[in-house]
């Protein structure tokens, strides 16, 4: 599982406070902990109203002062993402574009001939599509653009948009989003299927159980990348176990070594 570590995000109250108070130690500490627990990318999202780019630079510099783990540059504004790439010491993940407006035309030319990866959300100017067919239509449009700019499938992460379980349609559950995942997996096996796992459990009690159940089903449908908290031990263990069960971890080698490394199942 490719882990995009989610904790440095100004929409999380404790992180927003650290940003407001210029608490360098907080940013560094969270970055280090996430990197040490095996994050693939450290997501950095300012989520401030004014001075977003400057805030991103401040956060990225702090993260890079404690770890070499690549940065996931996170803003709903594609131009801000593009402008922040230069702050990063090495290629990471541009998070994110979508079918909305000119986001793709802003981002794709800049990353075309680089090693940067990109997260693309399956929404467009019509909103967040309600049906699998409509999300796949957005996916196809994004992939056509990627081909145009020569961005290989393996550099693309698709977020099919995970929405809260508790307001899904009757009799549907999460079948629609799983259908989108399976479609992507079968048509573009090299594309990474991603998304923010914890979105699934909004407004429900004992969210971590819902998150874990979702991870199992999503992994089975092809999810191999996730925006998540790498420090949540139980979720990490569930992911390793589920991956082993679908044949991605022969002899449970990764499961056992992750356990030995204290990623899950042990009090650190």
């Amino acid at each position: 599982m490719i882990i995009i570590a989610e904790k440095l995000n100004g929409s999380i109250p404790s992180c927003a406070k650290a940003i407001a108070e210029h608490d360098e130690a907080y940013i560094k500490d969270i970055a280090k902990k996430q990197a040490d627990s095996g994050a693939t990318f450290i997501d950095v999202c300012a989520s401030v109203k004014d001075g977003e780019l400057e805030t991103l630079k401040w956060m990225i510099d702090l993260v890079q002062s404690v770890t070499d783990t690549p940065i996931s540059v996170d803003s709903p504004d594609a131009q801000v993402c593009v402008d922040a790439l230069k702050f990063c010491n090495k290629p990471g993940l541009l998070n994110s574009v979508s079918g909305e407006g000119n986001k793709i035309d802003v981002a794709f030319p800049i990353i075309a001939d680089t090693k940067w990866q990109v997260m693309a959300l399956l929404c467009d100017d019509t909103g967040i599509p309600k049906s699998a067919a409509d999300r796949i239509r957005v996916f196809d449009a994004i992939m056509a653009k990627a081909a145009e700019y020569g961005i290989k499938d393996s550099r693309i992460h698709i977020d099919p948009l995970i929405e809260m379980l508790c307001t899904t349609d009757e009799g549907e559950g999460i079948s629609m989003v799983l259908e989108v995942m399976r479609h992507i997996k079968s048509t573009h096996p090299q594309v990474h299927i991603s998304g923010a796992i914890s979105n699934i459990s909004f407004n429900l009690p004992v969210r971590k159980i819902v998150n874990q159940a979702f991870a199992v089903l999503a992994i089975n449908a092809g999810m191999d990348s996730a925006v998540m908290d790498p420090l949540s031990q139980d979720l990490r263990g569930v992911i390793y176990a589920a991956e082993a069960m679908i044949g991605l971890d022969d002899f449970c080698a990764e499961y056992t070594s992750a356990y030995r490394d204290g990623i899950f199942g042990q009090k650190k």
Binding site: K49, E52, E100, G127, N203
Partner: protein, 211 residues
Amino acid sequence: MSKIQEIATLVENGKVKLIEAAVQEAVEEGVDPTALLNDGMIAAMGVVGAKFQANEIFVPEMLVAAKTMKKGVEVLKPFLAGDSVGKNGKYIIGTVAGDLHDIGKNLVALMIESAGFEVIDLGVDVPAEKFVEAVKANPDAKLVGASALLTTTMDSLANTVKVLIDAGVKSQVKIMVGGAPVTQEFADSIGADAYTPDAGAAAVKAVELIA
């Protein structure tokens, strides 16, 4: 238990499958349809909203209660005087320009409807001008609700409120705002009439604002 109480309990507990037969039975027994609506269902949704605000129930429980009420109202409608449903007037709602999030907005719309309003839902990514047009096209609308989920669309929310105020519609409607990054302080700073943190609170506030 009186029939009205029985209906209220069914709504409160989200008994979707039982509500239609129960409302039908109550009407046949001669219970006043308007009382069934106001003292039964709308009152029950008030309780549901309060419980949600107090963290006693969860979103899906609120959702299913509202759906139960909707089903009950469908059965009741033919027996009601024309203006009983939506007796509190029209409520115009939408997610502001640049923001595509609709789950929270839809929950608010559902609770507002359950509180006796006729909801006009403009959808997502709604330009400020479209809010103004909707207010002008609906002289009987008394409230507008605008939602923004992203920090980056809070400016759009501010603009929406400004455009509404500049268009001079404040003599007709009051403006409510909400969404994850929105606070009372922010609502005050942009000139909104009210901020509510959740759908239950929004329904209570809406009734209060037109009183």
